[in-house]
Symmetry: C2
Subunit: 533 residues, 2 copies
């Protein structure tokens, strides 16, 4: 049809530009899809910083993923780069606690992690969605080996202390049965003709077939105990070999029981784009990513540098910092430009001469509360007894979830469970207020309601409350839509010679990808500014 219109002479890309100019970017993306082009990632491919910065220098504050990404790319582009890091290690929240590590929270509570060799917990980020292209690109480039992270495990549990007598249910039962019952109900009203007007007659016929297939319904569109439904939800007795091996069907859970249990509410945790298969984790701990960056830019980092003041004028930026190994010893570092990745919780307490809009943005964003507890057990009973290989069980208990290791499957020996992972809300605050050993005790106590084996098998634990983390005072930027409208662009704009970066300066807060994409955007704009000036 295009041949008959005035647009016929336009190339597809010109057409897109035209749509983009007249109808806004959303319309353009839709047009792109219609025309068969791919969806757009937040990562635009390897950053291109072309042109000679002629010896310009950049001071980077913070050696987390945002800071190290910037350092890696800017040095390569010809900048003189140095990084100040408050911690005695790089990586920031990209961090793994291993046996032998000592960790200290704000207030002085110190834990010595007593995990066995090779066992660990990732207190911060721990999994990578397949569409976090920026992070995946750096993992590939820096040689970080990945293994799949199991988020959805059909055999993990959904648990409500108020439903099914407190007995955990298998994900597969809740998931399959809800889908089956919903399909049956819709098939029933379709057959009664009650969809007339909403769905064409022809579509109704196909809808019935789709519901039968998708909902595991029988020939009469009923969802009920049968070998057929058991092929989806699992059998009461699995098929076997030899004599007496015929399978015995399992009995679906009543819709009413599923609805009142509220367990359906957890199914989104497996369906969300952020949590869909295939997810990844680095082999050996999430900090393999940070360590890979350190191999590239470690020589640029000054550790134990607690920044207390950031000052800019027309000529450059100076950061004043205390060497925490020599308390009271103040030092300073200067450069033409500054990329500041310090979390806003901390930055808002630092003297920094930026304009009012950026200052207001720095002060506006609260940080999410999060607590994780890692528990070491004598044996991998979740695999041996419960056939749960990786994945997450969700519960209404204060621990919120139990996550099973996605590595060393089906092996003998010890293992670590993530025994508590809270995110905001009263439970998170309550766990934060506890002493670390009390959190571990509570995680074991609650977890035993789901896995009674906890009582016999627990050995040792470690916990981390992000609001008590001296280097972040919280877990991640906790934006609302209103805040974004008022402050987000002001936070991200270059202010004089300073630009901010980090997950807090992204639309993907709390994720490593947010830190990296924010950094790439910041250095791209900074470089443009340098080249223009």
């Amino acid at each position: 049809m295009l041949q008959d219109t005035p647009l016929a002479g336009l190339s597809r890309r010109n057409l897109l530009s035209l749509i983009g100019m007249t109808a806004g970017s959303a319309a353009m993306y839709h047009a792109m899809t219609t025309l068969g082009l791919a969806r757009e990632s937040g990562y635009k491919g390897p950053v291109k910083l072309e042109g000679d910065p002629k010896g310009a220098s950049v001071l980077i504050l913070g050696a987390g993923l945002a800071g190290m990404t910037a350092a890696l790319e800017l040095r390569q582009a010809g900048y003189n780069v140095q990084i100040l890091e408050y911690n005695n290690r790089a990586g920031g929240r990209n961090w793994t606690i291993r046996g032998g590590d000592t960790v200290t929270e704000l207030g002085g509570a110190t834990q010595e992690c007593e995990f066995d060799d090779g066992l660990y917990i990732n207190p911060g980020p721990w999994r990578i969605p397949y569409h976090h292209n920026g992070l995946l690109a750096y993992c590939k480039r820096l040689g970080v080996r990945l293994e799949p992270f199991q988020q959805l495990n059909h055999n993990a549990f959904l648990h409500s202390s108020k439903a099914f007598g407190g007995k955990p249910q298998r994900v597969r039962d809740i998931k399959t049965d809800l889908q089956g019952h919903v399909s049956e109900l819709l098939a029933k009203v379709t057959q009664k003709g009650q969809l007339e007007g909403d769905v064409t007659k022809e579509d109704q016929e196909m809808l019935l077939e789709a519901l039968r297939s998708w909902g595991a319904l029988d020939k009469d569109f009923a969802y009920k105990e049968s070998l057929h439904t058991s092929e989806f939800r699992g059998f009461e007795k699995d098929p076997g070999g030899g004599l007496g091996a015929a399978p015995v069907p399992s009995k679906p859970i009543d819709l009413s029981d599923i609805l009142s249990s509220g367990l359906w509410n957890s199914l989104a945790n497996f369906a969300l784009y952020e949590f869909q298969t295939t997810m990844f984790e680095p082999l050996g701990g999430i900090d393999m990513i940070g360590q890979a960056f350190v191999r590239e830019v470690g020589d640029l980092i000054t550790y134990n540098a607690k920044v207390t003041k950031i000052e800019q004028d027309d000529n450059g930026v100076t950061a004043y910092y205390e060497d925490t190994q020599n308390p009271g010893t103040m030092q300073q570092a200067s450069a033409d430009w500054c990329i500041c990745t310090i979390p806003l919780t901390i930055l808002s307490q630092i003297d920094i001469n930026v304009g009012g809009p950026m200052q207001a943005a720095i002060e506006a964003v609260p940080y999410a509360s999060s607590v994780k507890v890692g528990l070491q057990f004598k044996r991998r009973f979740w695999e041996e007894d419960d056939l749960i290989f990786g994945g997450v069980s969700y519960t209404d208990l204060p621990i919120s979830q139990i996550s099973y290791p996605s590595t060393d499957f089906n092996t003998a020996g010890k293992g670590i469970l993530l025994g508590c992972y809270t995110w905001n809300g009263p439970n998170s605050y309550e766990f934060t207020s506890m002493a670390p050993e009390e959190r571990v005790r509570k995680a074991v106590e609650y977890g035993a309601q789901i896995h009674p084996q906890y009582k016999d098998e627990f050995e040792t634990g470690v916990s981390w409350a992000w609001h008590r983390s001296p280097f972040t005072l919280g877990c991640a930027g906790d934006w609302t839509d209103e805040m974004r409208k008022e402050h987000y662009d002001n936070l991200c704009q270059i202010d004089g010679r300073i630009v901010l970066a980090g997950e807090h300066a992204s639309y993907i807060p709390a994720w490593m990808e947010g830190a990296i994409l924010s950094s790439l955007d910041a250095i791209t704009r900074l470089h443009q500014r340098v080249m223009a000036g």
Copy 2:
């Protein structure tokens, strides 16, 4: 309430026995569930062969998983064991084709596999469900390292050559949109009161909330383009970092288009109990399992032994075989008992003096047709260009599916796709009838409709048609319910001194677990017979 009934004095286990005796096993299993006991696996734990067989000997025919499992356990129990194997290798269908391997089909078609070092294809079994406890137990015991096998990848494709202009759709779009539309339709009729009578008023309120959550509906229970639905189906433009990073919502596919596409039909491949997360594969090829068994029982195996006749009398069993390395040279092996794991396709052509019922059973079971094609590509474009990390794309093209490797994720270099995997039906027969190189050519031609990169990136391929496999003449026992009723028990019963084992003697045909459970059941019964005699 139990206290008020005559049953009050019974222990739970006694109660179960009572129910079992009066109401049959299905009723008993249901009672078990109700009382909180676990579901039953086809695997009953490590086999216990107690008592001294006093030097009794067992001849095992076939060194596949069934034969080697029997050999391992029987030798340990005190039997004198030997195995005859037709192939020049053990493992049977547990087999991996690697670069440098030469494979020959019936009819003489020979392929030299030209894959690069370390790359391979599993022509037979390739994945392990988490509930195949028997196989997993042997993997653990024999030190076979496992990695997750990705079956469901939300970013893989569903493809119909007759829908969406032949453009592949992402699994996540079809899956999320079908669920959303179904939820919206059911919410609508619920709000209209059309579920009255089927669902209580109270449940209707909860159902609406459940549908809103599960279907990603908005506050008015509508499923439509929004950032909320995009959080499930993915965005048109993903959220990013820094300026201009706001996400752009994607547009759901119309229900009518989904229904007429038929793509919903493939969703069962991710929901079935057999294919649910978490699945596994051995690191380095499926034959790591067979090789682990060989480390245990390899010394018992005589290779290149083509059995032509099996003869039993009151004193024992003799197998006559040709040494295929010295054609025409007949040999024989004798023992007190025989476990025959030879596929029924072959066994039905061998002279064996068993009773009529077993003979009829041997002749009754047809074997499934299956063809696999492995394709080597210059680069892992499915990851690099399409963000498909593992999983399976399904298509209505004759290749049926494309499976992406579940290992070495996010690495540079070459990779192998399973470019065709047929199972029965005309396509399978047609592929079987082609010359191996023609199958490869066809797999590339069809696959290019889904991945145009095939044209530039393809290097070399190998294929295997199971009906042309000299050692099985088919892929796996293809039972119907009717056949099972008539023949299954007759196939599995001990006939004199002979008992059959293998996936064909199980309710889990084509799966390795079927071979192992069948073998464990056969040796348990054989041992009882020996001890009784």
